[in-house]
């Protein structure tokens, strides 16, 4: 019996090792190829150059247009997801009665289960033409449509995690607030929301990290033109969409063009990794203890 136990423990350990090994492998591949890339392109040109045309006859390796594209789309997504997600979290946690919540919460979470390729075509073929009714200058590929759709996609992430955080706030705090004569709204916004702050912030940062890494929606609907702009009406290209574009072309392996996708991937990885670290740190740092 003891031996059996031992075997199981080893099997479990191997499973854990597999995922750690995969992560390590990814980091090593990214690092090796990025290093090879940076031997040919100075890191200052890569990080601060404003033109990204690595596939053309006169290549430029400034990653800023791709970073700007990613930030633009993510900001639009957060502008949609943050207020809507927070408000629906407040409603679900504080106002909705249990029956409504039991019904609405899973429905909201279905949004997160829609395949992103569906969201991509939804942005390209429905949202963008709809927006063009009001904004005639809107290009067919643009940052606005996919940004809004991406916001809808990450909305359940924000609302669900925030609602969990608010639910974790002890009843006593709410009752104390009511006892002092506060209204329901004052209690929700001034007591519960601040008390759940760390959880909500962590949720938001996770949502940002999800938006930054989102690939399919922007690859389909945002265009493929690296452009350093804050104008959401124009075709842009995000870091993820660039990686897709090169992976699908005929770019031969081992060339500098091919290595660009690893360099961009590394930057993307570091970005989301940093966001996740900040999210964890915030959650631990500002956790309110109610014991």
């Amino acid at each position: 019996m003891k031996r059996f136990e031992f075997l199981i423990e080893w099997a479990l350990f191997l499973c854990a090792l597999l995922s750690i090994g995969t992560t390590a492998g990814i980091i090593i591949v990214l690092a090796v190829e990025t290093f090879a890339f940076l031997r040919e392109v100075p890191i200052t040109e890569f990080l601060f150059g404003t033109e990204w045309t690595p596939l053309f006859a006169t290549p430029r390796f400034g990653v800023l247009p791709l970073v700007a594209g990613t930030m633009l789309v993510s900001s639009i997504a957060m502008a949609v997801a943050l207020p809507m997600g927070l408000l629906s979290a407040v409603y679900l946690s504080e106002y909705a009665d249990a029956r409504v919540r039991r019904f609405v919460k899973p429905v909201l979470e279905i949004l997160a289960g829609v395949p992103t390729v569906v969201y991509g075509y939804f942005a390209l073929l429905f949202v963008t033409p709809l927006l063009q009714q009001f904004l005639p200058n809107l290009a067919g590929f643009n940052a606005l449509g996919p940004g809004i759709v991406m916001g809808i996609m990450i909305l359940p992430l924000v609302s669900s995690l925030s609602e969990d955080a608010m639910q974790a706030v002890p009843r006593g705090l709410r009752e104390g607030s009511y006892a002092l004569g506060a209204t329901k709204m004052q209690t929700s916004l001034r007591v519960v929301l601040p008390a759940a702050f760390s959880g909500i912030t962590a949720a938001c940062i996770l949502a940002v990290s999800r938006a930054v890494g989102e690939t399919m929606i922007v690859a389909i609907a945002a265009g493929q033109q690296p452009r350093l702009t804050a104008n959401p009406m124009l075709p842009i290209e995000t870091m993820t969409a660039y990686i897709v574009q090169v992976s699908l072309g005929d770019t031969p392996q081992g060339t500098i063009e091919y290595r660009t996708i690893f360099a961009v991937g590394m930057l993307l990885f570091l970005g989301t990794f940093l966001l996740n670290l900040v999210s964890t740190w915030l959650r631990d740092r500002f956790r309110e203890e109610y014991a």
Partner: protein
């Protein structure tokens, strides 16, 4: 071009399928492969010609189930000729006539070849159907618009032609890995692979169709066959090359104007070069004959078939084993019809 990357994406699948088919044959039909010693036919070269060659190779494989399906590589026209002149391939696919340096390399190796035209490729300039001003465009204007110097500078319609509106122009074009891009830049800018970099560049032609069809301020270039599939969603801008002798004024691209050589410079013939030695093998003869007789495949994969007369002439040249190239000095010859070239003595 869409058909290229799609096909390329499926190469691993194709290889797998072929390998599996091969395994199936050896297990199920045993000695049959040993009984059919016909050697594998190898094709390599242009990625533009690839879809046609691949389609023909597939049909050949279907027609000859006991022979191995010919392999089609995509080393590019230049890379294909390098292998071809070293005698590594039987057939070289080319989206331009053989160049003098390549002629020399083949001569040195003592390798003779037969030049066979198989189809035309045309590139159309398209704008949005709501665009009311761009009713035609000149080659000089295309150069202004697409040259590397234009990057970040030529960004409005009225910078291309003063009478066009002072509005932003949004550009779409084939990806830099495609033969369409290479030929477009060579024909307009004057140097292969030289263009501005600030446009939506996609290997997937559907992206370009979608981009132009959904944006009033867009202009793009596309393989002609693609435009014909999307006639209602795009508006074609006829192209004027300023040379009245091959058709005066702006010419609308169509199968007709591409064939008679008046839609210049954005159309070109495509070729296969068959090694003289390989031409004596019956299976190679059968394959080449399929390039002539199955012109429906050419249309199917998005190109324009030659006229029956040219197919007839090409067939005769191949039967007579006429070696060498009709393009004396080599390289692209703009504005010369295939009839005239094929009739030329060499």
């Amino acid at each position: 071009m869409t058909h290229i990357p799609y096909s390329v994406r499926y190469i691993p699948v194709a290889v797998l399928v072929i390998t599996m088919a091969g395994c199936g044959q050896t297990t199920n039909e045993g000695g049959q492969e040993e009984g059919a010693p016909a050697a594998l036919i190898t094709l390599d070269g242009s990625s533009t010609v690839f879809p046609i060659a691949e389609a023909v190779a597939e049909e050949f494989g279907k027609a000859n189930p006991n022979m191995r399906t010919p392999t089609v590589g995509i080393s590019g026209t230049g890379g294909g000729f390098q292998k071809f002149c070293r005698g590594e391939t039987d057939v070289s696919n080319a989206s331009r006539p053989i160049r003098p340096a390549e002629i020399e390399a083949c001569q040195k190796a003592g390798l003779e070849y037969i030049e066979v035209p198989i189809a035309y490729d045309g590139i159309a300039i398209v704008v949005n159907p709501k665009n009311s001003w761009a009713n035609n465009i000149t080659v000089a204007e295309l150069k202004t618009l697409w040259a590397p110097e234009a990057q970040g500078k030529v960004t409005r319609w009225n910078q291309v032609r003063a009478s066009w509106p002072n509005r932003e122009i949004r550009l779409f074009g084939a990806g830099v890995d495609s033969g369409t891009y290479d030929y477009f830049t060579e024909a307009t800018v004057g140097k292969e692979g030289a263009s501005r970099g600030d446009f939506t560049s996609s290997e997937d032609d559907n992206v370009i169709v979608q981009g132009v069809a959904s944006d009033e301020l867009a202009l793009g270039f596309l393989p002609l066959a693609y435009v014909e599939e999307n006639r209602e969603r795009l508006k074609i801008a006829p192209v004027d090359n300023g040379k009245p002798d091959d058709g005066a004024g702006p010419i609308t691209p169509s199968a007709e104007t591409v064939r008679n050589g008046s839609y210049q410079p954005l159309s070109r013939p495509l070729f296969i070069y068959v090694a003289r030695k390989a031409a004596d093998r019956p299976e190679v003869q059968q394959l080449v004959e399929m390039f002539f007789s199955r012109s429906d495949l050419v249309r199917e994969v998005g190109y324009i078939e030659l006229t029956p007369q040219i197919y007839e002439l090409a067939r005769k040249h191949f039967a007579d084993r006429k070696v060498g190239t009709a393009f004396g000095e080599g390289g692209s010859q703009v504005g010369m019809t295939l009839e005239a070239l094929l009739a030329k003595e060499r």
